[in-house]
């Protein structure tokens, strides 16, 4: 699979974000095994060290655990933990930035929200 990694952050972090995204979307569920380091390395043309680093980040954030001889497994409740931290991050950093942009463009926030509600957003 050809992924274009952006040049804003280190690749291992971008890889970690991808895995996090998959966990949020429930492509990878609790108790599932993550693909082996070798598989990911081959699929995305990465050095195994890079993949290991990404996985290590997930372990450090207690989203994933290493089971000896078996590989990396998603910890139960990881998704919930993720949702909480992602929500918090959104509210803390992304939302204010978005808000600022909306104000800068002079968009009416109320109109925007009611349109979103009508549009059937969940």
């Amino acid at each position: 699979m050809t992924i274009t990694w952006n040049d804003k952050s280190p690749i291992y972090l971008q890889l970690k974000e991808r895995v996090v995204g998959m966990m949020l979307d429930e492509v990878i569920k609790s108790g599932d095994a993550l693909p082996s380091v070798r598989q990911i390395a081959a699929e995305y043309s990465l050095n195994p060290i890079t993949v290991s680093r990404a996985y290590q980040e997930l372990v450090d954030e207690e989203l994933v655990e290493k089971r000896r001889g078996m590989g990396m497994y998603v910890i139960d409740g990881a998704r919930d933990k993720l949702l909480t931290s992602e929500r918090e991050r959104f509210i803390r950093t992304e939302w204010p930035a978005l808000l600022e942009r909306i104000k800068r463009l002079g968009i009416n926030l109320d109109l925007l929200l009611s349109a979103a509600k009508e549009g059937g957003a969940a």
Partner: protein, 290 residues
């Protein structure tokens, strides 16, 4: 440092090679730890092939060199049991048949695994009775790689392995290498012109220019050290004061490359990005092509 160091894949101390008055490799020293994938990048005539040749015991040299604990000058026979190399695309003899190649390697190489080779070949379109001369370049590389991957070598040296191949074969080459071959016990040294293609695969990087190593870093450090900034016009003076290693003008803005300056500091000067190996290569090698 021990002259023959088994804890590294390669240890070079004062490695020098002269051809008459010309110095191809000029007193270089470096270490390649085990289990790494190292990219040796340099322009033509920089000494990278000479370095590899010395490493593989193909040419005499001055200085110290230890490859997997062996001296390539005096212990080449023992060394060749543990090292394999692909020197160039399509150096397999034209009269060689696929089945004969497997038989030959099985008979001659103690670490060749016939079953593995056959397994790798089964994934290609190569037939046992095909001769190299009837194969396309890409197929020859497929064969060569299948044979090499079936050898349990601790060091693999690839000198421009994908030169002249089309993209499909190139991608497959590295994919096979990562999927079926590489592990912590093995070390790979690659030289290539197609830097962008392998930069994500590398764990370490060495730039060589005019016989000297001008850069030697792990890719982790690389990501930390080098930052490229598109400098806001009003911050130009401040940026210059921080000592960029290179700069150029893009769309009227100045893009500067910094080595070892904190990213946070640079983010105040403008938009930052992580440069790729190719970017750094161009910046470092400027002047080599003049």
């Amino acid at each position: 440092m021990n002259a023959t160091d088994k804890s590294t894949a390669v240890t070079a101390t004062g490695l020098t090679k002269r051809y008459g008055k010309q110095t191809a490799v000029d007193n270089i020293s470096f270490d390649i730890p085990l289990g790494r994938i190292v990219g040796l990048i340099g322009p033509n005539g920089s000494g990278k092939t000479t370095t590899l040749n010395a490493l593989l015991g193909l040419i005499p040299f001055d200085g110290q060199l230890s490859v997997l604990g062996f001296d390539p000058r005096t212990q080449r026979d023992a060394l060749m049991n543990e090292v394999c190399f692909i020197a160039d695309v399509a150096i397999l003899p034209r009269w060689l048949r696929v089945c004969d190649a497997i038989d030959f390697l099985a008979g001659v190489h103690p670490k060749f695994n016939r079953a593995k080779a056959e397994r790798y070949l089964a994934l290609t379109k190569l037939q046992p009775t095909m001769k190299v001369k009837s194969m396309s370049k890409g197929m020859v590389v497929q064969l060569h790689l299948a044979l090499v991957m079936a050898i349990d070598a601790r060091l693999l040296v690839l000198d421009e392995p994908t030169l002249g191949l089309d993209i499909l074969y190139r991608k497959q080459f590295y994919q096979n290498l990562l999927e079926d071959y590489f592990d912590e016990q093995r070390t790979i040294i690659i030289t290539t012109h197609q830097v962008e293609e392998i930069e994500t695969i590398l764990s370490d990087l060495m730039f060589i220019r005019e016989g000297k190593i001008v850069l030697s870093t792990s890719m982790e450090d690389f990501a930390q050290r080098y930052v490229e900034v598109m400098v806001e016009p009003d911050r130009l003076a401040a940026a210059t004061a921080l000592g960029p290693i290179d700069q150029c003008a893009v769309f009227g803005k100045t893009v500067m490359l910094f080595d070892g300056v904190a990213k946070e500091q640079l983010q105040m000067l403008g938009e930052t990005r992580n440069p790729g190996v190719a970017d750094l290569f161009v910046a470092t090698m400027k002047g080599s092509y003049v």
